[in-house]
């Protein structure tokens, strides 16, 4: 793809989308793994409530999610005020876009990872415990490596979803070029203008190429990891 195929502003949007999606996934992955583990392994009161909460962004129209984010994490929101006080404010910042993307992608990530936790043989974990590994070490040295293919799948799926997320993002952090104007926001803008469908199409292609590459890479990685684990 020649660099002049896209305008500098469009490149900025592409770069921003990559950054937002990347950090959305990286930052939410630990929580995603933890949540998946809790849902797969623990029986605690409120487990179904947690499960429902995780699924909410999948169920709600994205605009509603974005609005709820605005209410909570905006400057006037309870969480936003707190973060602002800590100098970590996300309102109108790319970190806010990442937060929106992360929340929208979270259910997909958790579902994929949860299934691989459910597939881990607990007897291997018992074996590790008898060999002197504490719960944390068992998790780090046995469970986590065994769920790696699922974690990869979940992370990449979340990345792909984050690359396409629009409704919640623009509602929450609006569209500020260079700061919060992601690829989908730019695509949306083009679609509002008569005759700009061609420009929208170029950006759609970029977005699809990036997301599908990630997806294919993940299938390949997951297969390799699965082969590694099953031997050979």
């Amino acid at each position: 793809m020649p660099p002049n195929w896209l305008t500098p502003e469009e490149w900025t949007a592409v770069a921003l989308s990559l950054k937002v999606s990347f950090w959305a996934v990286v930052a939410s992955l630990p929580l995603g793994v933890f949540t998946a583990y809790a849902l797969a392994r623990w029986r605690f009161p409120g487990r179904q409530i947690l499960n429902g909460l995780v699924h909410l962004p999948l169920i709600l129209p994205p605009v509603v999610t974005g609005y709820l984010l605005l209410l909570s994490f905006g400057r006037q929101g309870w969480a936003g005020g707190l973060l602002d006080a800590l100098g970590l404010g996300v309102a109108f910042r790319w970190t806010g876009a990442a937060l929106a993307a992360a929340i929208m992608a979270f259910p997909l990530m958790v579902r994929a990872i949860r299934l691989s936790f459910e597939a881990v043989d607990p007897r291997l974990e018992e074996a590790a415990a008898t060999l002197g590994a504490s719960r944390l070490w068992v998790f780090l040295t046995v469970t986590l490596p065994l769920v790696a293919p699922g974690v990869i799948a979940g992370a990449v799926l979340a990345f792909a979803k984050a690359m396409g997320e629009f409704g919640a993002t623009i509602t929450f952090v609006s569209s500020i070029p260079g700061e919060t104007q992601t690829l989908p926001s730019a695509i949306y803008a083009f679609l509002q203008v008569p005759g700009a469908e061609g420009s929208a199409a170029r950006l759609v292609i970029v977005s699809v190429v990036v997301a599908l590459s990630a997806l294919f890479a993940s299938e390949w990685l997951a297969q390799r990891a699965a082969r590694r684990v099953s031997g050979a």
Binding site: R123, L124, E126, A127, A128, A129, T130, L131, G132, A133, S134, R135, W137, V138, T141, V142, P145, L146, A148, R228, V229, S230, G231, A232
Partner: protein
């Protein structure tokens, strides 16, 4: 170091209520499927938490229900070899082996056995770079044993480590277990329902039946006890004799010296003077009052009848004294009557050399006689 176990536990319809002591050496936990063997071992390992009881290893209390003491599995310093090897599929053989030793070292304990020693003892040198999935069942089980050993355990638990293997694989591993028993100091709790394994390995036998200990004691005495025949199953009854290698003959036979006299068996590998244990199936022993001549059987040993035990079927179990060693013979009631066998009667025990197979010939210290080198 001695293990003391006292457990009361319920799981569904099953109730376990067992108490026993496992002195140093190999203690075999024997019983049929569903007797509760794995439940006991899991309780010792800390993988289940029974309802009531107490488990101590030497001076350490691993669990005491009434005192609310509970040492979690990873602090119990045990090595557990499971029925299926349970190797970590994502780690190489070498990494599997050093998994436990890494934690042991973090806790400031050094494995008694060095990696190189263990690898050599188990013959797994060529496997170190491989992944578990590519190992045969026997190889995997050897690696699992090595892994447990290298965790610097103060107690080894082996739960039917050979059950998943075919006879050839079993024969391949048993010598390693014998070396384990003889070359390391670690006490072993060994679960099996195969009498042949127990006869080769155990110093002490604890027999479980429906969650209860029905018999416990030194292996030599227990296995030669005619009363135990029904517990073991008639086909499996047989005594374990211990002795030393006396000489290797040119025609491939090895002469052993037992308390009761010389015994010829198919070739054994040990050097003259080495300890050896021989299991003699009760159904392989023939009894004669007068010394018979012109038989193909090479071993005709003078003996004295000590007990005659009548079972439910057509057979009787006869305990013979061979100059101090105990031998068990199973013959028909008809023969016992024809020969007028009764305690105190002198007779001859006839035993074919070839009826002692490789699975019955063990090396190293006898159950009643701890190896001086061990």
């Amino acid at each position: 170091m001695s293990l003391s176990v006292e457990i009361r536990h319920r799981a569904g319809a099953f109730t376990l209520d067992a108490a026993f002591q496992a002195p140093s050496g190999v203690t075999a936990l024997f019983g049929r499927s569903g007797a509760g063997k794995t439940t006991v071992v899991n309780a010792v390992a800390g993988l289940i938490r029974p309802e009531a009881g107490r488990i101590t290893l030497g001076a350490r209390v691993l669990w005491d229900a009434s005192a609310r003491i509970w040492v979690p599995p990873h602090r119990r310093r045990i090595g557990y070899v499971f029925q299926q090897a349970r190797l970590f599929p994502h780690l190489s053989v070498a990494q599997n082996l050093s998994y436990g030793s890494w934690f042991a070292r973090r806790q400031g304990r050094a494995p008694a056995a060095k990696l190189a020693q263990v690898v050599e003892m188990l013959g797994i040198g060529p496997l170190l770079a491989r992944r578990p999935a590519t190992l045969s069942g026997g190889e995997a089980q050897r690696v699992a044993i090595g892994r447990a050993l290298l965790a610097a355990p103060e107690l080894l638990l082996l739960d039917e480590p050979l059950a998943a293997l075919d006879d050839a694989r079993k024969a391949e591993i048993l010598p390693y277990l014998e070396r384990l028993r003889d070359e390391t100091q670690v006490p072993v709790l060994y679960v099996s329902h195969a009498v042949s394994e127990i006869a080769r390995l155990a110093n002490t036998v604890v027999a479980l039946e429906q969650g209860r200990v029905v018999r416990a004691g030194p292996a030599e005495a227990l296995l030669a006890d005619p009363q135990v025949v029904p517990t073991l199953g008639v086909r499996e009854a047989g005594a374990v004799l211990t002795g030393r290698v006396r000489a290797h003959h040119e025609d491939g036979l090895t002469e052993l010296s037992l308390r009761g006299g010389p015994l010829l068996v198919p070739g054994v590998t040990g050097a003259p003077g080495d300890h050896v244990r021989v299991r003699v199936h009760a159904h392989d022993v023939i009894i004669a009052r007068a010394r018979p001549e012109g038989l193909s059987a090479l071993n005709i040993l003078p003996a004295t009848v000590r007990q005659v035990h009548q079972g439910a079927g057509p057979g009787v179990a006869v305990q013979l004294d061979l100059g101090g060693d105990l031998l068990l013979a199973r013959i028909t009631r008809r023969s016992a009557e024809a020969l007028a066998l009764a305690p105190g009667v002198t007779c001859h025990a006839i035993l074919k050399s070839v009826s002692v197979g490789p699975a019955d010939l063990g090396q190293g210290a006898g159950p009643g006689e701890p190896d001086p080198a061990g």
